[in-house]
């Protein structure tokens, strides 16, 4: 599903180039649950941004679902983000003055889904994160854990193949963080590919594969199937 070869990313700020990714090669299959870990500045967030089409690499190749990113226009990237990808951010990124319903509906607006169908999809997504009683509540009035559940519902509403989560528990207390990870695990169990960036080992261990990064390169890439038998550490 995801194939990257010698992926590089270089930022130039005030004429000083910074190499955030220095040649990363990686492949992720459909249905995997992958955690990407590493200290800050290791390039893990940059990698996630490129994988999720929010940014373009400056070198190397990236093939998503058999299609190279090179030939794609910004409009096509936006279309793939809308159709095939879901996003969960550390800082939720909800529009706080809109209701839960309106927030979850946003991706459907950009896929030009008909209003009647939108309603069904939004209600279904909100129900799947257990917030059906908050449908008409303003997003700004929710607790952190609830906000992140709304964000997950928003990521789910277009029924994407991959869900990208950038440190989704970073702003939450451990109890709420755990709930969020349970939901992500459930999504994975239902067949979705989940790619997660985190710096908490506990969170990372929900995945069945952990990639550690350092200085823009992959340091280790391990499957942790045995661990799944015990469930995550509580």
């Amino acid at each position: 599903m995801i194939e990257i070869r010698n992926l590089q990313k270089e930022y130039v700020e005030e004429e000083t180039p910074t190499r955030a990714l220095r040649g990363v090669t990686l492949s992720i299959d459909k249905g995997e649950f992958v955690s990407i870990m590493g200290p800050s500045g290791s390039g893990k967030s940059t990698l996630l941004q490129i994988l999720s089409f929010l940014d373009r690499p400056t070198g190397g190749s990236y093939t998503f679902q058999g299609k190279s990113i090179d030939g794609m226009t910004d409009r096509e990237l936006a279309h793939v983000r809308n159709k095939d990808m879901g996003f969960v951010f550390q800082s939720f990124n909800l529009l706080s003055r809109l209701t839960v319903y309106d927030n979850v509906e946003i991706p459907l607006l950009y896929s030009a889904t008909q209003p009647v169908k939108r309603q069904t999809l939004v209600e279904e997504a909100v129900r799947s994160v257990g917030l059906e009683d908050k449908l008409r509540t303003e997003a700004g009035k929710l607790s952190g854990g609830q906000k992140q559940r709304v964000a997950i519902a928003r990521a789910l509403v277009t029924d994407p193949n991959v869900i990208f989560a950038d440190d989704p528990t970073g702003n939450l207390d451990s109890q709420s963080g755990l709930q969020i990870m349970e939901i992500l695990k459930l999504l994975h169990d239902k067949g979705r590919t989940v790619i997660l960036v985190t710096h908490e080992t506990q969170t990372a261990e929900f995945a069945n594969r952990i990639i550690r990064m350092k200085d823009g390169l992959i340091e280790s890439d391990k499957a942790i199937t045995a661990h799944m038998l015990h469930g995550p550490l509580k």
Partner: protein, 417 residues
């Protein structure tokens, strides 16, 4: 994004910052309202002026002494201080014999102080024949009656005065009829008071006019034998341009002129004057509207300013929308719709506000000066112009902020604090 959804999204953003939206719109409201008000009042003024000229009668031909200006706009010779004595009684007599002309009415004009008791006023006076009242559409008297042909022939010292002057001289309690007034120290007996006031054709203040027999005005007030103007009323059976050519022919014959370039008189019809006045008032209205539109530009810049602030404030929102699939065009469209909605609603409110002000002016003018005949004019062209201009302003002043929004890179936008 589907267009109805785009409108819904834009409306929602605007209503979330109600106060800001209202204040932003205010500039456009004031701009559109001032354009509308000036255009409407200009239209009313134009209708009023043209209406008064027309009320004098559209079959009138005005003959003034001096060479014609041949299309170039220049003041008549008399206004330049040149005394032209070419119009005489024999011209009037010759015109009276012409079958295409019903009436030929000579006039002399001057300004002087008029006194009754302790009251006085400086007024315009006209010396003319008894036909003056018919030709000028002033036959209706509120009191007394007009002077007669025999008054003119005998050189009677009688006068017809305007209603405002009657009020100035006699107040409301005193009957002006048969009172003796002094005009340029010559005594005249008031025989009639005109019923119509206000400003008449050619800027004559009818309310303060004094009309006396031409024989007396020529000899005793002015000491002249020529006329300032002859007004000819064409016979309705003839085409006005034919009558015009007949007058030219008669006067050239009378004055012994063979070279058409050496005419010592000029002729204008009511239609000529109407078209000149119409174009002058139109230019003035446009000029005022152009000045008012400066406030529209200021309002538009206000909108651009607020939209730029809004784009910066909502950087994270833009980043999020792009992350979940919005294209550059979607974002540009959203912000452009917001600014066009602001200006369009502002324009509509401006039109409504303008209509209220124009209505108030109409009521006010008619309350203070009911005889003026001020009409309520609210040209549909002004409404269409207002809406079109406000829509265009929204696009013109919204496109730059909207492009800035659309160009934002989703990563930078999401990272924005």
């Amino acid at each position: 994004m589907r267009l109805p959804d785009a409108f819904k999204t834009a409306t929602r953003s605007l209503t979330h910052g109600k106060m800001r939206s209202i204040l932003t719109m205010l500039g456009i409201v004031i701009g559109i309202a001032s354009v509308i008000i000036l255009m409407s009042i200009g239209q009313s003024a134009q209708d009023l002026i043209l209406g008064q000229v027309q009320s004098v009668g559209s079959n009138l031909i005005i003959i003034v002494p001096g060479a014609p200006s041949n299309g170039k706009f220049s003041p008549p010779a008399s206004a330049q201080g040149i005394v032209v004595t070419s119009l005489q009684q024999r011209d009037v007599d010759a015109l009276q014999r012409e079958p295409s002309i019903d009436l030929a009415v000579p006039e002399v004009r001057g300004q002087a102080e008029v006194i009754y008791g302790n009251n006085s006023a400086t007024v315009s006076y006209t010396g003319s024949t008894a036909d003056f009242f018919a030709v000028s559409n002033l036959t209706k008297m509120s009191e007394g009656q007009a002077f007669s042909k025999s008054d003119v022939d005998s050189g009677a010292h009688v006068a017809v005065i305007g209603p405002d002057l009657a009020n100035t001289l006699f107040g409301t309690g005193l009957d002006p009829i048969n009172k003796t007034i002094l005009l340029k120290n010559v005594a005249f007996r008031v025989v009639g008071v005109l019923s119509k006031g206000g400003t008449g054709a050619f800027g004559v203040d009818i309310g303060n006019l004094v009309v006396v027999p031409i024989s007396v005005a020529q000899k005793q007030l002015l000491g002249i034998t020529y006329f300032n103007v002859i007004i000819a009323q064409a016979n309705a059976a003839y085409d006005i341009n034919f009558v015009k050519s007949r007058i030219t022919f008669v006067l050239r014959q009378d004055h012994g002129i063979t070279d058409p370039n050496k005419d010592d008189f000029s002729i204008e019809t009511q239609a000529d004057i109407l078209s000149i006045l119409g174009s002058i008032t139109s230019v003035l209205t446009l000029f005022l509207a152009a000045i008012a539109s400066i406030s529209l530009i200021v309002g538009g810049i206000g909108i651009m300013n607020i939209m730029l602030v809004s784009v910066t404030e909502r950087t994270r929102e833009i980043g999020l929308r792009k992350a979940v699939g919005a294209t550059d065009t979607d974002i540009l469209q959203q912000f452009l719709i917001e600014s066009v909605l602001l200006t369009f609603v502002g324009g509509a409110v401006g039109i409504a506000f303008g209509m209220v002000v124009v209505g108030a002016v109409y009521l006010g003018v008619n309350a203070f000066s009911p005889t003026l005949g001020w009409v309520f004019a609210f040209p549909i062209s002004a409404v269409i112009l207002g809406l079109v201009v406000s829509g265009i302003a929204g696009i013109a002043f919204g496109i730059y902020p909207a492009r800035q929004a659309g160009k934002k890179n989703p990563i930078d936008a999401l990272r924005y604090e």
